[in-house]
């Protein structure tokens, strides 16, 4: 009888260990799956954000040549924000703004710089001062 009780106890303990191990394994598999899902979601969100920024960038490029000052200003502010938020786009954005100064901004005589020129210079200077 004692032998049977010992065997029963051993069997029970083994069952508990096996059950616990199985529980841990299932929890680990679920955690891995959840992490992969989160990573995929994050990648998708980043891709969507970059698509949106590319669209904003392209639109701003077009708006820089608009006749209306307020449209050009909007484009300059958008490009400034892109340069701030996306380090890998900062250089092309600053080069684009420099190109605007070379190719588009005309003479304003002896007066003060127009607001679009001033804002571009401020944007460039913000970067150039800290270099």
């Amino acid at each position: 009888m004692a032998w049977w009780l010992s065997f029963s106890e051993l069997f029970r303990t083994f069952g508990l260990i096996l059950g616990g191990g199985l529980g841990i394994y299932i929890a680990w598999r679920r955690a891995v799956a959840a992490t992969r899902q989160a990573d995929a979601t994050l990648r998708q969100a980043e891709l969507a954000r970059r698509d949106h920024v590319a669209e904003l960038f392209n639109r701003a490029v077009g708006q820089l040549t608009d006749e209306k000052l307020e449209i050009r200003l909007g484009a300059i502010y958008t490009l400034r924000q892109i340069a701030r938020d996306f380090p890998d786009l900062a250089k092309p954005t600053l080069e684009l703004l420099s190109t605007y100064l070379r190719e588009r901004a005309g003479s304003y005589g002896e007066g003060e710089p127009p607001v679009d020129v001033r804002e571009i210079i401020n944007t460039l200077r913000n970067y150039l001062v800290r270099q």
Binding site: A83, R84, D85, F86, P87, A90, K91, T93, L94, E95, S98, L101, R102, A105, G106, S107, Y108, E110, G111, E112, P113, V117, R118, I121, L124, R125, N126, Y127, L128, V129, R130, Q131
Partner: protein, 104 residues
């Protein structure tokens, strides 16, 4: 990603200003790092360029009439010789209007 301590820009490694031929009178690029910048032919009349770094910058034909270059760094005689200055141009210590074709 944003670094407010640096004017909000995180990085634009390798960016060199190229504003050749641009009309930039009365603009303010004081203390800017203009290393290897191409400013040739640009009109910086009455501009503020105090403390700017001009190391290896191209100033060929750059108009600096009345510009303030006080405390500008790494500005050489040959750069000044290639630029156009006048009696109102404020040059950094050690450089004088004699280094350029004044009023050109």
């Amino acid at each position: 990603m944003t670094n407010p301590a640096h004017g909000g820009f995180s990085d634009a490694e390798g960016f060199e200003l190229d504003v050749r031929g641009a009309f930039l009178r009365r603009t303010d690029l004081s203390f800017a790092n203009l290393e290897r910048a191409n400013l040739s032919g640009a009109d910086f009349s009455n501009a503020l360029l105090r403390g700017a770094n001009f190391k290896d910058a191209n100033l060929e034909g750059t108009i600096l009439k009345g510009a303030d270059l006080t405390d500008a760094r790494n500005l050489t005689r040959s750069q000044i010789a290639g630029a156009v200055i006048d009696e109102h141009t404020k040059l950094p210590r050690g450089l004088s209007a004699d280094d350029s074709a004044v009023g050109g």
